[in-house]
């Protein structure tokens, strides 16, 4: 399965014919483990951002501990310093605090340490992505199986609805859903005053139509297979056939697809953020960090925008790699069996 990448991410899945297992190049084991290691590092950092020693923050200045978990504090004297290794960046040109370089990622104009902030951003981005793909998968699987198994009017209704959702430009759909939750007085475009709920709802709804199509196609395929026909002929009820015969066969495809979907939804969150439609202002997500750094980027201060972009790129790359490995493994099994 390959998905066509569009601006916000998800478009119709396009079936790619399986190639013979033996002839397919095996992705290097080292690459795979690097990807796993990177994801583990990001996940651990995201979960433990509040107490891990390499992530800088200071809770003392916030009376509300909840705020602390969203704020990262650097050294305010080191405002907008390039990363320590960036010998080519010329800090004097930007803000007159001496040519010092600091941290792995440098600091932004608020003095936040960008590396630490990226890790806090990982928490929000990954949470949004993971929850959205989970909801999307649940709904997509249920709808797809109903459509593919029962056919008839249910199938037709679901097909029309998915077609309508797909005909909507994905970004528009997301904007609608996200803006619905806005407070009535917010009239301007960039009002970053949302909790993560609406974003998750918007992204899940984006994920549903392609997943429904995928599950439907697979269900149709398996419904015609001999073991389903056999189950039906010995009088197994529909629910049993769906849950015990068809679902286990779809799950591998779904799993490898879920990783790809997760990557796409992470991207989509960033796209919303680029339009000023992301979570509440102090909460960092990768998308927010990238887009809020763009103003400075035009003046030659690249690290506030490009360093989180690097983290995001590596994470998406790692997720895609694992998704590919999974897809390859499951396809191989199918070919052998």
């Amino acid at each position: 399965m390959t998905m066509v990448a569009t601006d916000i991410g998800i478009a119709a899945p396009i079936a790619v014919p399986l190639t013979k297992a033996g002839r397919r190049r095996r992705r290097g084991r080292i690459t795979m483990w690097l990807a796993i290691a990177w994801l583990a590092f990001i996940t651990i950092s995201a979960v433990g951002a509040n107490f891990l020693p390499y992530i800088k923050h200071s809770c003392s200045q916030y009376s509300n501990p909840k705020q602390c978990s969203t704020h990262v504090k650097g050294d305010l004297l080191k405002v907008e310093k390039p990363p320590a290794w960036a010998w080519f960046a010329n800090p004097e040109k930007n803000i007159g605090n001496g040519p010092e370089r600091t941290g792995w990622f440098g600091t932004d104009r608020n003095g936040y340490d960008l590396f630490s902030r990226s890790m806090f951003g990982a928490r929000n981005s990954l949470l949004i992505g993971a929850l959205s793909i989970t909801f999307g998968l649940l709904l997509g699987t249920v709808l797809g199986m109903i459509a593919g198994y029962y056919r008839g009017w249910a199938d037709r209704v679901i097909e029309v609805v998915t077609n309508i959702l797909l005909a909507f430009p994905a970004l528009l759909l997301a904007i609608f859903i996200v803006t619905f939750s806005d407070k009535p007085d917010s009239t301007s475009s960039a009002s970053d005053t949302r909790s993560i709920g609406p974003i998750i709802i918007a992204l899940s709804i984006l994920a549903v139509p392609p997943l429904t199509r995928l599950v439907r196609a697979n269900t149709i395929m398996y419904t015609q297979r001999e073991f389903v026909v056999a189950a039906r002929s010995i009088g197994a009820p529909n629910r049993r056939i769906l849950l015990r015969e068809i679902l286990p066969n779809i799950i591998p495809t779904l799993l490898s697809f879920a990783l790809t979907g997760l990557a796409l939804l992470l991207v989509a969150e960033g796209a919303l953020a680029a339009l000023g439609l992301s979570v509440e202002a102090p909460l960092p997500t990768w998308g927010r960090m990238i887009s809020s750094g763009q103003e400075r980027l035009r003046q030659g201060v690249w690290w506030p925008s490009l360093m989180p972009a690097l983290v995001m790129f590596l994470t998406i790359l790692a997720i895609n790699l694992l998704g590919d490995v999974l897809a390859e493994r499951f396809n191989t099994r199918e070919v052998i069996a």
Partner: protein, 320 residues
């Protein structure tokens, strides 16, 4: 013929549903028509003034009657004016459409121009160094969303080296140099993930085709490499890539908002999104209906093109 009519009916339903839902969704955006009034009159309008503005814009009628009024205007071609700036909506759309179209066409051409040869040679010499390089780069490029690519390109070519002006200043075909400068970065940004997607699709399809019997037969009867690749293998392998390219036509026309926003080009995507934020209901609806029409027309053409690519596919057979 029955299939044709069936399709046409389905398309009409989709267009109708999309525009109607847009119209309803727009009216239910937080604040509703009060926002329109507030944006038009500024703060502190009296209730009578607000009523007058609403009446003048036709916002005091029911959603359904507003929708049919809009439909009537759309069909007759008299699209009316924007709420706030009092510009002709048609002019706005006509001005935005070519920008999106330029980006879409150039990006498609650019990506296909690179993707096809790379995919063909990768598939032909599967597992070679070239193939490994090709697949790895494609994989990496797929993981780079356009709001990452765009700042990198901009930092490199507009800030560090001032080769291309920022923001992109739109110029038509009349001034080729300015035209090129306005579109090169946005187009490259859009084309990069397209290239990666196309390359992977075509490569895997070609690999499957190259394993089939008729290729072996052709090779056994002494047909040369070029002839095998271009005359025998390419056409039956075009299935997925044509689908993807066609789907992308619709997606790119409406969905390069991020890139347009980043390079400050006023294409369709930006027009739509900005209009949503400014609650320009009719403008959003016209933009959406134009995009939906493009989408369904393209979808229809894809189905027709399948018959050309692979004559075994007969119209009427369910696809996918």
């Amino acid at each position: 013929m029955r299939y044709f009519l069936n399709r046409l009916l389905q398309l009409a339903i989709v267009v109708f549903a999309v525009t109607f839902l847009t119209s309803v969704a727009l009216r239910f955006l937080p604040g509703g028509s009060d926002v329109v009034v507030a944006l038009k009159t500024g703060p502190g309008a009296t209730r009578e003034q607000a009523q007058a503005v609403k009446h003048q814009l036709g916002l005091d009628r029911s959603i359904v009657s507003q929708y049919f009024d809009w439909m009537h205007k759309f069909v007759t071609g008299n699209w009316g004016f924007t709420f706030q700036t009092n510009q002709s909506i048609k002019t706005e759309v006509v001005r935005a459409l070519p920008i999106s179209a330029f980006i879409m066409v150039y990006a498609q051409i650019l990506s296909l121009l690179f993707a096809m040869p790379v995919a063909m040679w990768s598939a032909y010499r599967q597992g070679s160094k070239f193939d490994r390089f090709g697949t790895t780069t494609a994989f990496g490029l797929l993981s780079a969303p356009n709001y990452i690519v765009a700042p990198v390109l901009m930092a490199a070519f507009s800030v560090q080296r001032k080769w291309v002006p920022f923001p992109s200043i739109y110029a038509g075909l009349g001034d080729p140099v300015a035209h090129f400068k306005a579109f090169v970065l946005p187009v490259v940004t859009v084309a990069i993930p397209l290239y990666a997607g196309y390359m992977r699709l075509l490569r895997s399809d070609l690999i499957a085709t190259l394993q089939s019997d008729f290729i072996t037969t052709a090779r056994a009867s002494g047909v040369g490499t070029w002839s095998i690749l271009f005359k025998h293998a390419l056409r039956p392998s075009l299935f997925s890539i044509v689908t993807a390219a066609a789907v992308n036509i619709g997606a790119l026309m409406g969905g390069v908002v991020i890139v347009e926003q980043f390079f400050l080009l006023n294409g369709m995507g930006r027009l739509t999104v900005e209009s949503i934020f400014r609650r320009e209901y009719p403008t959003v609806q016209y933009a959406v209906v134009v995009l939906a029409l493009i989408y369904v027309t393209v979808n229809f053409l894809i189905d027709l093109s399948y018959a050309w690519i692979d004559p075994r596919v007969r119209v009427g057979r369910a696809l996918g």
